[in-house]
């Protein structure tokens, strides 16, 4: 039975939704997302949901780039988010600078943290890498809880006058989301991306045909650190305050992993779909505080059991198509 399906599918080519039609669809969607809030069609509540989707989409896509392509499964994304949140708070509250300066400092520190950690973490693989990233985040949490400059465990507020409206933060989040997706898309379409896709399937074999594993990992880690930090900064601008327990909490990574696994790891569209599903579920379950995590966990288990490639990943395999594909064809 199984061999039969294999033979039948062996002659099916993967269809790709890409090129000009994809570009036009993307431009239309982005244009709508820009115009709708300005015309007042979207309520500020809807804007808040969408804003969350944009940020989760950025966070999920970056984690997917690392775990889905280079095999570096990080459980410490909250390090970048917390650092960025505190950069924003310190720049706006302590130094009275604009939140743009806060974002810039956060992004640079995020990238620098990734660069610094790579020396330490790239000696580890798989589970050891995952645990080490988590340990770093926990260490940062402990450090920030006792650091008087950032008011220890009491947390900090983000100051801006005038404080940006939801629509303004929405626009920043939208731009960040689009830029990060474009960066990932261009990276995967590049020569390095070809090697990354090979690494996704078999890193040792990739290395034996000349793919530079270390260089690829480093690039992905730094890009991931930078954009994850920016998304963290925008999130905390929306939230208004930050505490060490929240900023460096493992919950961040739990959400991100859920988003990517549900949507489809190692695909570009997966984290986008995952971010939408997660945000909708989170809002729906908000009225059942005790049960929400149990239900999310149950959903994750069911998806892993029955759709191991995630929702989009399974659909793509079954129906032989790819969205936002980095596929190369022999004829162009």
């Amino acid at each position: 039975m199984k061999t039969k399906t294999l033979e039948a599918s062996a002659h099916k080519q993967v269809r790709v939704f890409g090129g000009l039609p994809m570009l036009i669809t993307a431009v239309v969607i982005v244009a709508l997302l820009v115009i709708l809030p300005l015309t007042g069609v979207l309520s500020s509540n809807t804007q808040r949901y969408l804003l969350k989707i944009f940020l989760y989409c950025c966070l999920g896509s970056m984690w997917n780039l690392m775990s889905g392509y280079t095999g570096m499964t990080s459980l410490g994304q909250q390090s970048f988010i917390g650092i960025a949140g505190y950069s924003l708070a310190v720049m706006t509250f302590t130094y009275g600078a604009s939140y743009w300066a806060g974002f810039a400092v956060g992004g640079v520190l995020g990238a620098a943290l990734a660069l610094g950690l790579s020396v330490l973490l790239f000696r580890m693989r798989g589970m050891y890498f995952a645990i080490a990233t988590w340990v770093v985040a926990e260490a940062l949490k402990t450090f920030f809880t006792s650091w008087t400059f950032v008011k220890q465990g009491a947390g900090m507020t983000i100051k801006a006058k005038p404080y940006p409206s939801t629509t303004e933060i929405y626009m920043i989040a939208l731009v960040l989301c689009v830029v990060s997706l474009v960066v990932i898309y261009l990276l995967l379409r590049s020569k390095i991306g070809l090697g990354l896709t090979a690494m996704r399937d078999d890193a040792d074999a990739a290395s034996s045909v000349g793919v530079n594993i270390f260089q690829s990992k480093l690039l992905c880690f730094v890009i991931c650190g930078f954009f994850t930090a920016l998304a963290g900064g925008v999130f905390y601008l929306n939230k208004g305050s930050i505490y060490p327990s929240g900023g460096f909490g493992i919950n961040w990574t739990v959400s991100i992993v859920f988003i990517v696994i549900i949507g489809g790891i190692g695909t570009m569209g997966g984290p986008i779909l995952g971010a939408i599903i997660y945000t909708v579920l989170e809002e729906m379950l908000a009225s059942y505080p005790g049960y929400s995590n149990i239900i999310l966990g149950l959903i994750a288990i069911l998806v892993i059991l029955f759709l191991p490639d995630g929702i989009l990943g399974t659909l793509q395999k079954k129906f032989h198509f790819e969205i936002l594909s980095q596929k190369r064809f022999s004829k162009e």
Binding site: L6, S9, A10, H11, Q13, V14, K191, L194, G195, T197, A198, R200, D201, D202, D204, A205, A206, S208, V209, G210, V211, N212, G266, K327, R328, F329, S330
Partner: protein, 244 residues
């Protein structure tokens, strides 16, 4: 060194840790020939491959390849010099198409731009008769086609010397014929090929020179049929068989 010689081992000792496997191994391989290697299990065939691609460094002796002394050169540099290997168990990039698999090798291994890499990749696919299947996901290939892909990917790195590690193992007789045809094509295209195999038919019919290894050294080298028929080889290879 003779310029007609692409590869030579001179009194090489090598092994893993304290276990010495290769024991004073010497042989020479001519440019453009198919050089077969046989020998009973544990005689050091795969260890010889590992020493050749740079996974292990000999403790004694010299390995010369294409005019370079590569005895202590690392694996990545040897790949760049044009030593291409295949894995005994194929390891395709399963989520990528057949074409993309080879493109990775020609872009990253041979250092081409993606545009030039396409040409090299398509050429390799034609030589290995995978051209018609180039857009299929590599994970959906049969064993024979996976072995072809393994070779195509090695060709993508533009080697001069191609190492085949038991590519005929596990295939049906008809498939073995296909592999032999492919090796003949590769030879005609100018590649030098060193081939380890247990399937005797391939060694007799496809190789120009045959070496039989035993206990880490070179027992006998010569015309394939002569080597196969020699008493010496029979003793080490089939020594365990008793007359009835």
């Amino acid at each position: 060194m003779d310029t007609d010689t692409i590869l030579s081992f001179e009194h090489v000792n090598a092994g893993y840790g304290r276990v010495q496997i290769l024991n004073d191994l010497s042989f020479e391989m001519k440019r453009g020939e198919v050089y077969g290697v046989i020998g009973p299990n544990g005689c050091g065939k795969t260890t010889m491959f590992n020493a050749l691609i740079g996974l292990i460094i000999p403790t004694k002796g010299k390995i010369a390849y294409d005019g370079h002394d590569v005895t202590k050169t690392n694996a990545a540099a040897r790949c760049k010099l044009g030593i291409g290997r295949t894995y005994q168990v194929p390891r395709p990039f399963e989520g990528m198409s057949v074409f993309e698999n080879v493109l990775v090798a020609s872009v990253h291994g041979a250092g081409h731009s993606e545009k030039d890499g396409r040409r090299v990749a398509l050429e390799a696919l034609k030589l290995t008769e995978l051209y018609e299947k180039r857009e299929i996901r590599a994970g959906e290939l049969t064993l024979l086609d996976r072995k072809r892909l393994e070779i195509a990917r090695a060709l993508g790195t533009e080697p001069k010397l191609l190492l085949l590690d038991e590519v005929a193992a596990g295939l049906t007789e008809a498939e073995v014929q296909d592999v032999m045809k492919m090796v003949a094509n590769l030879k005609a295209a100018g590649y030098s090929i060193i081939w380890i195999e247990h399937v005797i038919q391939t060694m007799v019919e496809s190789t120009d020179t045959l070496m039989c290894m035993s206990e880490g050294h070179n027992l006998l080298v010569g015309e394939p049929l002569e080597v196969m028929n020699s008493k010496l080889v029979e003793e080490v290879y089939l020594g365990v068989e008793e007359d009835e």
